[in-house]
Structure formats: C-alpha cells, structure tokens
C-alpha cells in the first residue's frame, strides 16, 4: 500500500480537486466549476490540464470512478481512503508551512 506521504506535495489543482471530492462525489464539469468558484477565479484550469490531473490522481489511486452512476454518459468520481489520507497529510504539511511563515513574518520576531 503506497504511503500518502509519497504523493506529497500535491499540486494546487490536485489539492483543490481532492478537497472538493472529499465533500461530495461529483462529475468533472461540476468539479471544474466548483474549483473556480471556490478559488474566486484564481484557479481556472484548462480542460486538458484538468483531465491530466484527474488521470494522475486516478492512476495514483487517490480517486476512482464511482460505482453508483446515475447517468452513464457522465463519469462521477469519488475520493478513495488513500486520497483522503493524502489530503489530510497535505493539509498538515500546509499548516506547518503556514506556521513557519507566521514565525518569520510576525513583527515581534522579525530580525533587524
């Protein structure tokens, strides 16, 4: 079983996709829309890039096609336990990064 730490760091887009899928299973078009909405338009992937991320995530076992598909023409993706752990690990990594940044940038501790 691959360790989630091998998959870190996740790309911006990958992180966003996993986060959204952790919320609820979804199909690609809706996912892209939500990614854009959540980031306030900051993350706006091209269709190709988005599929490239989906394909990689699927290959690495972080997401899979949902077995419960209402519409056969639309593929619905869900997050796997590995994906969930990778997401958690990434979040923790980001949190420690944020903390490190705070330590440097807080005025009281700034070197002169």
């Amino acid at each position: 079983v691959p360790s989630p730490h091998d998959l870190l760091p996740l790309t911006h887009l990958m992180y966003a996709v996993l986060l959204l899928l952790a919320e609820k299973t979804d199909h690609p078009y809706e996912l892209v829309r939500r990614v854009r909405e959540r980031s306030g338009g900051l993350i706006d992937p091209g269709t190709g890039s988005f599929y490239s991320v989906l394909a990689r995530a699927q290959q690495q076992g972080m997401i899979r096609e949902s077995s419960a598909q209402a519409d056969t023409r639309r593929r619905v993706y869900e997050i796997t336990p590995l994906g969930r752990r990778a997401l958690a690990a990434e979040a923790a990594r980001l949190a420690s990064q944020v903390k490190a940044a705070h330590a440097v940038l807080t005025p009281g501790k700034k070197r002169t």
Partner: protein, 878 residues
Amino acid sequence: VKVFRTLYRLALRAWPRDFRTRHQDEALQMAEARVREEAGLRRALRAARELGNALRVAPALPSYRRVAIVGPPAGHTAFGGAMPFALRLAVRTLSRQRTLTVAVITTVGLAVATNTALFSIFDGLLFRPLPFPGADRIVHVDFPAEIRRALPPAEVRLLTSMLGETTLIELRASAAPAALFLEEGAAAVRDWDLRPARVSPGLFTLLGIQPMAGRLLTAEDASGPRDSATFGDRIESVFRSPVILISYELWQAHFGGDLGIIGTPIELPGMLFQRGPVLAGVLPRGFDFPGGANIWIPTRDASDRFDLARLAPGASIEQLRAALPGIRITPLREHVRPAGAFALGVLLAATGLLVLVAWVQVAALLFARAVGRATEIGVRLALGATRFRIARQFAMEGVLVAGAALLLAWTLAPAITATAVALLPETTTRGQSVAPDVRTLAFAGLVSLAGVLVLTLVPIDIIRRSSPLALVRGVLFENMRQGAARTRTLMLVTQICITAILMYMAGLSAQSYSRVSAVDLGFDPGRLVGIPMPALSMLVGGSEDDRRASQKRQMQQFAESLPAIQALPGVAAAASGRLPLYATANLSDQRFDVVAESDTPPIASARVDDVTPDYPSVLGLRVTEGRVPSPSELSSDRWAFVNEALARQLAHAGPVVGRIITVNKRQRRVAGVVSDFVVARPDQSVEPVVLDLTQAAQSAFMLVKLEPGLVGDRAVAAIRTTLDRIWPDRASREIVHLSALANTATADYRSRATLLTLIGLLCLPLAVTGVTGALSYGIQQRKREIAISVAVGAAPNRVRRRLVRQALIAVGSGLIVGTIGGILMGRFMSAFLFQVGAADPFAIGTTVTVLLPIACVAAWCASRRVATIDPALALREP
C-alpha cells in the same frame, strides 16, 4: 464554436489513444461549454487557451497500453528525447527500400532542380531588381533619330538643350557595347571572350559602383585632343595610352588576379588599340553592365549625348516625361529587360504544371510504398504504437527524403540553369545575371517542405482509415479496395494529362517558331549588312556661322560616305535607307497618312523613308511596275516608290505609276511599285511603305550588299577603315548583319519554344515512372486474380496484354483530356503564337506520337512482373 469543436477534436488526437476513447466526448463537451461561457474576444482567447492546454498536457497523459518492441527507451518523451530513435528507425527503413528511396529522391530532386533553374531564369529576367543601389531612379533616355528628323531643327535644339540642363536629372552618363575595338575574326577574341563597352566616366557614380581594386575612370581619362587647351597638351594627349577598366572575371581568368598589373600597360590580344591600354582598376565581381561587358573604355561625358540618367531626388519619371515630350524615357530596369520577357509568364505557368506532375508522381510512389508497408503499420499498431508515433516516423522519413532531394536539386540546379540559359537566345538573356541564389534556394526549400507534408500526410491518411487487424492482413481500406485502384488510376490520368498539356504547348511554340523563321522577308538577308550613320548633330551654343559650318561639314561627310563605300573591293552595292528588322524597339513607329487626291480622305497610313534610287536593287526587291527615274528626272521632281501593299490600296482609283500622292504634307510622284518586304517584325503583317527617292539621302542607315566569299568578309574591315577616315569623331562603328537581325527578330519565339520543349521533355521520364508505378501497383493488387488465370492455363503474355491494355486506356484518356486542356491553354497563349491556331494538328500529332509509344513501352516493360508471379505461392498467401 463549431470551428473550435473541430480543432479541439484534432488536438485531442495528440492524447494517448485509449485515454482519448475514454474521455474525449466528455472533455470536448466540457471545453465547448467553457468556451460558450465567454463572449467576443474573450471567447476566442479561451478557445485558444483550451486548444493549447489540450496539446500541452498530451505527453503527460498516461497510456494504458504499453508500447512494446519498437519503442524508445523509457524516460523519453514523445516530443523531445525520442527523436534520435525515430531518426535511426527512419534511416533503417529507407535503406531497406533502397530502390524506392532512390526513385523518390531522384524524382523529387530532378523536379525541384528544374523548378529552381526555371525559377532562377524567370526571377533573373523578370523580377530581380537591378544590382545597383537606387536602381529605380535610373532611367534610360532615348531621342530617336527618326523623331529628331521629323521635328523642326529649332525644336530639336531646344529639346537637346533642355535634356542637358534639366534639374530633374542629377547625373548623366552613356554606355554602349563597342565591338569596334575588336579585331574581326581574330582567334584571340574568341578565346578571351572580350566584350568591350564605351562608357562615360560618370557611369560608375551614376550606378553607384565602387572598384574592386585600383580606381575608376576619370574625366581626364576620357579627354581627347580636342579638349586640350594648349597645343602641347594636344600633342601629349595624342600619344597618351588609353585607360581602361576590366571585369573581376577577366582579371581572375587571364591575369590570375594579379594586383601588380593595376596602373600598368597591359596586353589584350584581339583588341584594336593604337598603344597598350593602361589598366586603371578592376570592377567588382558580377558587374557586366552594359550587355555583359568585361572591358570598359572611356568616352567623354557630354551633357547633350547620354543615354542613362539618375533622377534628381524628389523628381519622378512622369515629371521628366512631361518636361521632355518626344524623348523616350524608360526605367533602366524595363530597358534592360527583354521586351518579350513578360510573355515568359506562360512558361511560369508551365513550370507550375511541372511541379504538379512531380508531386502527383511522388504521391503515387508513396501510395505504392504505403501499400507495401501496410503490414508493418498494422503490426506496430497492434503492438500498441500510437498513431502519432507512426505519423512521426513517416514525417522523419519525409524530412530525410526531402533533405536529400533538396541537396540533389541544389547540386543539379546550376547546371540545369546554365544549360537552359545557353539554349535561350542571347538577346533574351543578355546583360542579365541568371544564377541560382538564396532566393531560389528558399523557393526550392519551400517546394521540398510541401513534399515533406505530402510524404507524411499520405500514409497518415491511410492509417486513419484502417484498423490494425486489416492492416496486418495486408488489406488497405477495408471495402475500399476499388477506391484505392480508382485513386491510383486517377493519378495516372492526371499525370498523363498534365504532361500532354505541356507537350502540346511545346508543340504550339515550336510550330510558331518554325512559321516565324519561315516567313518570307521579301529579301535575302544573307550578304547584307547595315551601318548606322551618325544622326546629324546640332551644335548647341556657338555662333550661327559655326552651326552652319558644322552642318555643312556633316552634309559633306554624308555625301562622301556612300561613293567611298561603293568603291571598296568586296562591296557589291550600297544604298542609303531604312534598315529592315533593325532594333525594332528603338525605331519610331511613326506612320503618315497617304492622300491620293487633295481634299479626299487618306487611303492608308504608311511608313516613310528617304532612300537612294538603288535601294530596292541593293535590298533585292523586285520593281514590279514602273522604273527607277533617271538622275535628271530626280533632280526635277520628287519621286517615290510604293510597295505592293500600298499599291493595292492606291489601285482602286486608277493606275498607280505616275500618280501624285501626298504624304506628310509633301507631294511626290509614284515612280514604281516594289515587292513587299518585312519592315519591322516578321510576325506582323506587311504594311504600306513609301520610299522617297533622293540622290543624297541622309538616312539613318547605309545598306551594303557584300560580294560572296572571302572578299565580302574582308570588306567589313575595309568599310570600318573608310568610315573612320570620313567620320573621325564618330561614336559608333557598329556593323549589323541582317541575318543576325533576322535571328533576333524570332528570338522570343525561339526562347519560348526552347523552354517549353525542355519542360515537356523533363516531364517524359516522370510520365514513364508514372505508368510503370501504376502498372506495378495494379499487378500487386491483382496478384491473386492473375495467379488464378495463370493457374487455369492463361498464357502469361495474354495476361500481360490485358494489363497493358488497361493501363493504356488510362493513358489514352489522359491524352484526350490533356489535348483538350492544351487547346484551351492554346487560346490563352494565342498572343504568343504566330500563324498557329489553338487546335493545331501538328502539336496534337507530336504529343500523341511522343507520349503514346513511350507509355506503351513503359507499360510493357513494367508488366514483366506478371511472369514473376508463382501461382502456387500467390494463391497460398492469406
């Protein structure tokens, strides 16, 4: 959005195949929806971004199948690292099919070389600017002698002085070929290929030419005894050696590029100099103005006698033309370009057709190749090679083939260009630098690039249409075999058709040329030479007496010339008058109305010339009516001869001889009628001519009939010496052979016929390859069928005959369509044809009799392959 959908679908082709099959519909939908979200310019931007994005991620997308056997080592990306591998593979494939590769490279190489050569010629003759800085501001100025004579002397004087003083002209110079310095018939002249020109020192400044070594000519170099102020200077200038410039090529070829000879007297065999000329300098490589000159001899700069001018800044050629009516001013480029050169446009179209033939040929060869490689492609696809990878390999092979072809073309092009230029008449190519250069190389490169595209697209198209399984079984185009055969036949028909069109055009031109050459000139140019006489020059400035004296002296010189030349040994007869066929472009085309009775409308318009009474007999014209008036009659009345063309029109109103006609406001009595002769161009109909008879004609030309044999040849030199004595300050001693003029007059027809025949002949080998290829393909495709007929007892020869017959049906239909196309082209060409209709039986006959037997032989030879089919083996094949 529709366009975007198509493009996006194309872009998705770059994705790994199975990934694409899984996701492409969805991705397409999504991309399309996202493009729809935007509007206007933002939509276009979004679309472009989506397209780029799809292409960019393609290499990173996973492929579920792994490429086995023929694949690059792991870690190579599809775009970058795999190239050397593809290259290796391409080289291996090409060297395995050596015959085919050589055939393709030779075909393409030859076609590109021919195209490059012909393009070089067109480029050099028509499009390339003259190699002088600011060449568009250089004009050629011509004050034709005929117009000079037609105008009142005062106006001529005025125009001459205006020409010399106008501020619209910045620089003035003269340049003319000067064969007079060459020793007639000397072997050295031929060996050294000396082409002297007399130029004024200002020429080089005007053209903006700097010497390659040494110095240019100065006004002092050009000054003669008459310019010197003191007696001592005059004596000195008489004994001074002439100063000359030579071309870089001459310097290299005969003086070994020796810098030491500059500034010293040099020896030029075959040149008529009184003392050894001093070499002032060497001109840069390639400079050969005017008319291919390689030795430049100075002549004085004179404000009233020049033929080249550089416009002053801000002045336009229109202004100059408006300021100097009657003087012919043409841009130098147009003057130097051969008059009929634009007719070469037809030939440009013909070369276009040649490219087409070559590419149809290449497409056909490739088609055959792709058929042969169906199994290979099928196996690779089945093993998991992506279509992109296979296409890339074809592209790589295409690049190699096109590169080799380009190299071959570049090696052959100069030779083909030189051959074509040598075949063209000198009048067409004179003074032009015609050689392949960067521009023509770029042209050839572009043509090759088109080839790479063809080489890549044809196989890709085939892969696109078939499944791996079908390919492995060697079946192209499932259910489309008929279509493939039809396409192949269509290619052959197209090719034969284009070849036939070209050959037909060549036939038409050749026919026109032979008709033009066979035109009855009305006289025999064989032993006739023409000598241009100096135009009466008007002294500008000076007193009235001076002017009168100068005129009187010139009259005397004119009067002396004719008897002096008539008296020379070797001269059979001489007369003064119009020189037929001479430099038609420079003669004024002025015609005058002929009025038979006063107060009646003019009955014709005719050319009018002053001639001496024996002009018709010197030219060899028959006097069909009337007679030559006696000297006493001549002195008492104005007499004229008319030609038959004019006599026919005059005859409507009674007898012609003795009739008074008025031409150009002057009355003359018709003394007789002479047979028609070609006045200007053999390809124009005979026009009415009036020959005014005068005892002492001051015509622009003297016409001399030489005795046959050696005596006559020697007389040419004697004529020169005589004229030299009578006209010591004469500028030109050009002697024109009328047979050479007759050649020049047909030069355009000859060059067209030559080039078209050349193109047509080059098409023939391509046509042979086409027939052979088509037949081989047919045999390959119908192997089974042939095997069965042979197995059940058909004689191989019968099978062969059947195959050949089928191929010949295609050739025949190509010929018919091509001939019809040729006739249509002939209609467009009619301006360049002479006495030849668009549908010419000779041209049709030539096309058919050349193409058909060649096609028959090629087909019969190609059908030999039938004999190699072993029925037992062929039938066992899947």
